[in-house]
């Protein structure tokens, strides 16, 4: 296998592993927060339903954590196995957040174990709630640290290169690179948003499938509220990300927006197809790109004409951008209508159609996450470290990457099927109605 093939297969394998991992990782970041909120509401309102909600989410969460942990271990090692030259260079500059990420992960793992095995152990339920704080913090901080590493790849800084040698390394400066604030904030907000909508879609599905229990209604209202808050946050931060790109990584924004020529008062292009360099069937919003990039309608936006051909990202990232934005806006509207509707007691929101739309919202949000990551990552091509190291210089020289790709594909298929089967079995076998009755009789038994 030649080097070109090794580069190709390394890219495919990394993309496959990450695309699979982020489904479980995103849920892993967001759900502890949701569990914490549910349990807190339950204790505060003295409402058994919310406590049970936290308990049932936790049980499902453990399964997703397991897959997240093992695929995270895979990507952690694959970084060195598939991109040894990159890790050698990056290890010198960006090892600090990688290292801190394992601490956050450690912290989360310990307290998750304790949390799961101490339901009903403490007389005061607040003590048990306290255990969840380190779980949620650990989960969010591992996302923060690992996103810092990714931000560094987009905006490397904190070192000088003199005659091919790395000198004056400043690990803190490398961490606080310009891409970091918007990346971290956007990752967190969308992870919380996606988790909320995934949980909402479970609630809506149960309501559709015959259960009309007030438990599911409470779950739906709580998660849609969270979903709305975080989708608005995601949109606001997304706007900041656009401004960041215009300033520091204009070629990514230009490729995502099919903005070929540098101009003032640039329009925003939504949808459309690219045919022989011509944009067709697109919706053009005048001045919107200038506003997105620099907050003023007449600002100059740098186009692709300013970059050498071999330094521009592939143009198909525009479609990914469309998918991400459309899903984000759609989910914000859907949750907004739901909340207004539940406040004004509209019949619409308990209609079958509307509930099916909520069910669809969970998978859609995950697609949005994937599209966003693909856009961000492909938009950095041909660089692995923007402006410094090209992807093809970083890949392994090993000849067996193609076989490894097959093996890992098999693994992910097994994990995907396994986790789905186990999760559905767990909840089908033990519906809420039965668990509520069981818990009530357990409590009676305890007081008698």
């Amino acid at each position: 296998m030649g080097n070109e093939e090794a580069v190709f297969f390394s890219r495919v394998l990394t993309e496959l592993t990450l695309s699979f991992h982020i489904i479980y990782a995103t849920i892993g970041v967001g759900i502890p927060l949701m569990i914490m909120i549910a349990q807190w509401v339950g204790i505060k309102k003295q409402d058994e339903h919310y406590i049970l909600l936290a308990r049932r989410w936790t049980r499902g969460f453990v399964i997703t954590v397991a897959v997240g942990v093992v695929t995270g271990t895979a990507i952690g090692l694959q970084l060195s196995l598939l991109w040894p030259n990159f890790m050698e260079l990056a290890g010198n500059v960006i090892a600090l957040p990688l290292f801190m990420e394992t601490f956050a992960f450690f912290f989360e793992a310990i307290f998750l174990g304790i949390y799961i095995y101490t339901w009903d152990r403490f007389k005061n339920p607040k003590k048990h709630l306290l255990l969840l704080i380190p779980v949620a913090i650990g989960a969010s901080f591992s996302a923060i640290f690992i996103t810092v590493v990714n931000a560094f790849m987009n905006a490397p800084q904190g070192f000088d290169i003199v005659n091919g040698q790395l000198v004056n390394v400043n690990p803190i400066l490398a961490m606080f690179n310009p891409a970091m604030p918007t990346k971290v904030a956007h990752v967190l907000a969308t992870a919380y948003m996606t988790s909320a909508f995934v949980l909402a879609s479970i609630g809506a599905f149960r309501l559709l499938k015959g259960s009309n229990h007030v438990y599911h209604k409470k779950a739906l209202l709580l998660t849609m509220k969270m979903g709305l808050i975080f989708s608005i946050a995601a949109a606001v931060i997304g706007d900041f990300s656009g401004k960041y790109l215009a300033e520091y990584q204009p070629e990514k924004l230009a490729a995502a927006e099919w903005h070929f020529e540098t101009e003032k008062g640039a329009p925003l292009i939504l949808y459309g197809v690219l045919d022989d360099g011509e944009v067709k069937y697109a919706i053009k919003i005048p001045f919107a790109l200038s506003i997105l990039a620099h907050s003023t309608p007449n600002a100059k936006v740098i186009g692709l004409d300013q970059f050498a051909k071999d330094e521009t990202p592939p143009l198909y990232i525009h479609y990914l951008f469309d998918v991400m934005i459309t899903i984000g806006v759609w989910m914000t509207l859907l949750s907004f209508v739901f909340l207004i509707g539940s406040w004004r007691k509209w019949k619409l929101i308990s209609s079958k159609l509307f509930r099916w739309l909520i069910v669809l919202g969970g998978p859609l949000s995950i697609i949005g996450i994937e599209a966003g990551w693909w856009m961000a990552e492909v938009g950095r091509q041909p660089w692995i470290l923007r402006g410094l190291m090209r992807t093809k210089e970083a890949a392994t020289t090993s000849g067996q990457v193609d076989v490894m790709l097959l093996l890992f594909s098999g693994l992910y298929i097994i994990l995907a099927i396994g986790s789905v089967v186990v999760l559905t079995r767990m909840f089908r076998k033990n519906p809420v109605e039965r668990e509520l009755v069981d818990r009530a009789s357990e409590k009676e038994g305890a007081t008698v």
Partner: protein, 342 residues
């Protein structure tokens, strides 16, 4: 002490932690499968599940910590080991992934009573230490050639080297020995006399092979890497102490007394041997291409990592203490009188 030595010592301690904790985990899976095969599953399963459930995730973190740490402190290892380990490390990851997720699926998703899975689970636990221990063999040199396109691993020479197989066999016997000694103690704490008796038997069976294979490796090294062999001999007293601790463990287990002390002696034994091996390996990370000095990261990163490490330990040690206190050393939990599982 230089920063390089601090760095490698920290990583070696974590690797040691992983070896002990993972051995208990892998061995437990194997004994569980073996007892199923011989129709004694009812004796062991409960004790093993009770120990493993709250800690399975933590075990994995020790490994992640080690490989992230080594790339951080010694970035050049990513280039050498990353390139040559693609196949063995990928296989280990896949096995770990199947094993880890299966554990969670079975324990929380109710697949526990499937014999076939129990069996696969037990075997995979033995294949993982075997595939990971290859790294130790490779580090002894002469399996890797560095050419113009980068380092390559010669699988055939690796496969037919007696050193490879000695290290693989040592990793297997050590896993079973460490695990059975720990579980004997744990079962005794749980007041489960039948499990204690069975595990005690396993511990005595695996003690001998562990010592024999460990000594065998020293002889293998004499032919394979004379320089390393000389350095090992210089440290004879460390290995001598290790053997004395070993005899202490076996004596206590034989006399059926103080299982806790016996496990403590075992940890001491492996600690001395592991450190003796590590020190004798100094200063090479990959003989003869890579030493800890030429692969070490820059000073500012090293300082930052050590500060992060100390701060991290400040968080970890109290949390690990809490975990151990709530489960391992909680009488009611260990004896199965509590079931507060979500």
């Amino acid at each position: 002490m230089t920063l390089e030595v601090i760095g490698i010592s920290v990583l070696w301690v974590f690797l040691f932690g992983y070896v002990i904790i993972a051995s208990v985990d892998f061995g437990a899976g194997f004994f569980n499968a073996y007892s199923t095969l011989t129709g004694q599953q009812h004796i062991l399963t409960k004790v093993i599940q009770r120990y493993l459930s709250p800690v399975w995730e933590v075990t994995n973190v020790f490994l992640v910590f080690f490989f992230v740490g080594i790339v951080g402190f010694f970035p050049k290892t990513a280039y050498y080991y990353g390139t040559v380990l693609l196949v063995p490390a990928s296989l280990a990851i896949i096995l770990l992934a199947i094993r880890g997720s299966y554990y969670a699926f079975a324990t929380y998703g109710g697949l526990t009573n499937r014999k076939r899975y129990t069996f696969i689970y037990g075997i995979s636990g033995l294949l993982i230490p075997a595939s990971l221990s290859i790294v130790l063999t490779i580090s002894e040199g002469s399996f890797v050639k560095v050419g113009s396109t980068g380092p390559t691993l010669n699988y055939w020479i690796l496969f037919k080297s007696p050193l490879t197989w000695s290290i693989v066999v040592l990793s297997l016997t050590a896993v079973l020995y460490i695990s059975s000694v720990f579980l004997t103690w744990y079962a005794h704490q749980a007041k489960d006399d039948r499990a204690t008796a069975l595990l005690r038997k396993y511990a005595l069976i695996w003690a001998g092979p562990t010592l024999i294979t460990a000594s065998g490796i020293i002889i293998e090294l004499k032919a394979h890497n004379p320089e390393h062999y000389e350095r090992l001999l210089d440290l004879w007293w460390l290995f001598g102490l290790s053997v004395i601790l070993f005899m202490g463990t076996v004596y206590l287990i034989w006399r059926k007394q103080s299982y806790g002390v016996a496990f403590g002696l075992l940890v001491g034994q492996f600690f001395l041997a592991f450190f003796g091996y590590g020190i004798s390996h100094y200063p090479y990370l990959l003989y003869p291409y890579l030493t800890i000095f030429d692969s070490f990261t820059n000073k500012s990163m090293a300082t930052a990592l050590i500060v992060a490490f100390i701060a991290g330990l400040g968080l970890l040690i109290p949390s690990l203490y809490l975990l151990v206190k709530l489960f391992l050393f909680n009488k009611e939990y260990v004896q199965g009188k509590r079931n507060n599982h979500a």
